[in-house]
Symmetry: C2
Subunit: 201 residues, 2 copies
DNA sequence: CGAGTGATTGACTTAGATCAATGACCGTGG
DNA sequence: CCACGGTCATTGATCTAAGTCAATCACTCG
């Protein structure tokens, strides 16, 4: 699962794995940037601390997600990264990365392409969150993630995870799916959802 | 306002402005990619049409926003772009861009940096949307957008715009701000919000 | 065989969406 | 210059969908 394939082999070769205990800092605001990271296991939160000492969370990264890409283009970090659980991260050293981009423009382009794709996906997720109704939100998701034929959607993880991604409580998601199934709009089976007829609006 | 400063002058020089009537397509799924765009005025929606003919919106871009960055790394578009209002867009031709990146690695890096920063911002916005409570959501926003001293936040546009960005109805935002002010947590003035004492949790 | 987690459903509550009305503040065009 | 139409800001009343709390069942894993 882990091991970003769009990274040049030369960079992957020099990646450093690091373990953190829950609560430990991977880096802190103002530290010199060393590279960007992939979370292998556990969760890391990126956050800042405001004047009143409150921690403001920017983003929490789970397994497979990357953090601090922007740090490649900056000399210091602009937020803290703290382990929220015991964590294993893989660090891709900045100089190796930039050097690779320098000599291999394909690699640089692959990196930019990955970022661009991420921007797209994130925008879509935000758009999704603009939909208030749980039912419509689920429909939006199903519509976007249907397979080529548009007949079914395969669920990657658990329904709980999906609920989190959709910004719903798991209960709300269960109920919504149940309602959609009752109304004959979908049919559920192990790890899959078949899309049946569509009702008008 | 418009005119992306991180773009090489050579590219900005060859940008093409184009007007679209509401409903007109800027490009469609499967079209060969010509470049990426900046919306100067109006709104453009990126969308797909699912098997049942329903339009699924990926993202709607307003003035100052860019679209289709990912198209630079693909030969065809993967969604439709339709004018939601009468629109003026600026198109940055793909070959000019890629050529510029080829010869000027600073330009390529600036582009990647912009994307990386966007990824960061978007993630933060999603995190924000994970906060259910309107009050906490507003606090999160204020905490993140406080000026250096952490004493005040200046409002870029109208409160309505802010409400949209926060994923709240404008009414909910007005009420929340009024409540925060009543409780002495903030003080509002023309285009600014001063942050006063903080209550415990 | 428990312990832990996901899936599911019920009952209840509430925060925020919706609908509605009002006043302030433009810009503009006659 | 002023009336008028438009948008923002604001507040009230009402309603409901989704969150919260809670209980149960099915599984899987040591």
């Amino acid at each position: 699962m882990p091991g970003k394939d769009w990274l040049p082999a030369a960079v992957r070769a020099v990646a450093i794995d690091r373990k953190l205990k829950s609560g430990e800092a991977l880096f802190r605001f103002g530290d010199k940037t060393t590279g960007f990271c992939e979370v292998i296991a556990g969760r890391v939160r990126m956050c800042r601390v405001d004047r009143s000492g409150r921690e403001v969370i920017l983003f929490v990264a789970g397994p497979g997600e990357t953090i601090a890409e922007a740090s490649l283009f900056s000399t210091v970090y602009h937020c803290d990264a703290i382990a929220s659980t015991d964590v294993l991260v893989r660090i891709y050293p900045k100089q190796a990365l930039l050097a690779a981009f320098e000599k291999d423009r394909k690699a640089a382009q692959a990196f930019a392409a990955t970022l661009a794709r991420q921007v797209m996906n994130l925008r879509t997720r935000i758009e999704q969150r603009n939909i208030r109704s749980a039912r419509e939100r689920v429909r939006h998701y199903l519509g976007l993630n249907a397979d080529a034929g548009g007949r079914s959607v395969s669920l990657p993880g658990t329904l709980k995870d999906l609920a989190a991604e959709l910004g719903l409580t798991h209960e709300a998601l269960y109920r919504t799916l149940a309602a959609l199934e009752r109304s004959g709009e979908i049919k559920r089976s192990k790890g899959k959802i078949a899309l049946l007829r569509r009702r008008k609006i």
